[in-house]
Symmetry: C2
């Protein structure tokens, strides 16, 4: 049983410069794991046209789903929609369906539509809109790429709009045992257990707390029964 | 004036599964920005040999420096050192210099060296060791790739060991103006200013707080005088 794969493309100068700490990746990773879709790669790239186009083409060819975040607002540095159209050879212009959604939103808020706001209705010709219940300006799905906003509250809402439309697999289950010993003592028996359960994935994530060494031993897999069995043995070994 | 470029490769199933939130990227991004090295791409990949090798080869060919985090401990899932050796066609084995560092550390701590701990002395033949003042097990530099631990305290210490050995450029300076208006109102005048200063990079990062829209307008560049001038005009426009 193989779960569908996904990649994420984060478009963000502000993350690469260290100004902002990304929050969307962690959210998406958790949602995909629950949905049984394997997040297999994340790339963070700057707001540069050629770089964005090359990255989205590579990821779209390599994985079943791609999720992008960032660069779909009204300002001059929001170039994602045009890059996506170029990446897939589609034309892009203000689309009536997107414009109607924005117009209704601004009418309700008593805000005037202007040239900048209208930019958010620029959608590639064959893309499908993604609902944005937070601030109305839609995302879109083009081929297998889901193009979403970078603002965390909007990103989260768009993920919730898209995920039910995708075919997932069995959720990836995981259990963790925290062991207060150095990894050098853990490695031998933990490695032996990992060899005994090739269908499970086992990882050791060390930490240092109050000057003492420890590690979180994480066992992951799709079979709940097998996971429980392996965890029992793990607890026995490190009791 | 062009600053040297860098990429980061995060090796981490635990981040892709959503279990852990990466902290190292944000730290490295800030450090590189201060050092005048442009972080141009980040990739996060799973603990899989072929994927790690392909990613490090691509990044090492595309950027002047590559920083990796994760996968250099003593447990069975720590495969980074072997992948790096394979990526650059070098042999790998326990090296005397690395073993001596570990032996001294364990002697002092009264801990026994064992097979698992000895794995941390496996270093590619032509690599240079990176000092680890926190827990002694060294990282290493192979060609233009700096291979470091994933534990944040160790990663941070290794970055501090490596950075002074690299040639940086002019630090990337940035100033931020927070404007409490919607981006739709900001976009026009902000875009015009960005056009007037092609040597500066200007980005708008919107937020929604207490139901109100706003944006952080960030201006970046290497010339402090030009940055101040542009910020004055920006403040005038949005006063």
């Amino acid at each position: 049983m193989t779960n569908p794969t996904a990649a994420m493309l984060v478009i963000g100068d502000e993350i690469l410069s260290g100004r902002t700490r990304d929050a969307n990746m962690h959210h998406l990773a958790g949602q995909l794991t629950e949905a049984g879709i394997t997040l297999a790669e994340v790339r963070i790239v700057p707001d540069e046209r050629d770089v964005i186009i090359a990255a989205v083409q590579a990821l779209a060819a390599g994985y079943e789903n791609v999720f992008s975040s960032g660069g779909i607002g009204p300002t001059h540095d929001d170039i994602t929609a045009d890059c996506m159209a170029a990446a897939f050879g589609q034309s892009i212009d203000v689309r009536d369906d997107a414009r109607a959604i924005l117009q209704a939103h601004y009418d309700k808020a008593g805000t005037e539509m202007n040239e900048a706001r209208l930019r958010m209705a620029r959608i590639p010709a064959q893309a499908t809109l993604i609902d944005n219940p937070v601030s109305s300006a839609p995302g879109f799905t083009i081929e297998n790429v889901h193009v979403m906003a970078g603002v965390p509250s909007v990103f989260t809402a768009m993920v919730a709009s898209v995920l039910p439309t995708l075919t997932g697999g069995a959720p990836l289950l995981s259990k963790t045992l925290t062991v207060h010993r150095g990894e050098g003592d853990i490695a031998g028996p933990f490695g032996a257990l990992a060899e005994a359960y090739p269908a499970l994935s086992m990882g050791s994530y060390p930490f240092q707390r109050d000057g003492k060494y420890g590690a979180n031993l994480v066992v992951r897999g799709h079979d709940a029964g097998m996971l429980d069995e392996a965890m029992s043995k793990l607890e026995e070994v490190f009791a």
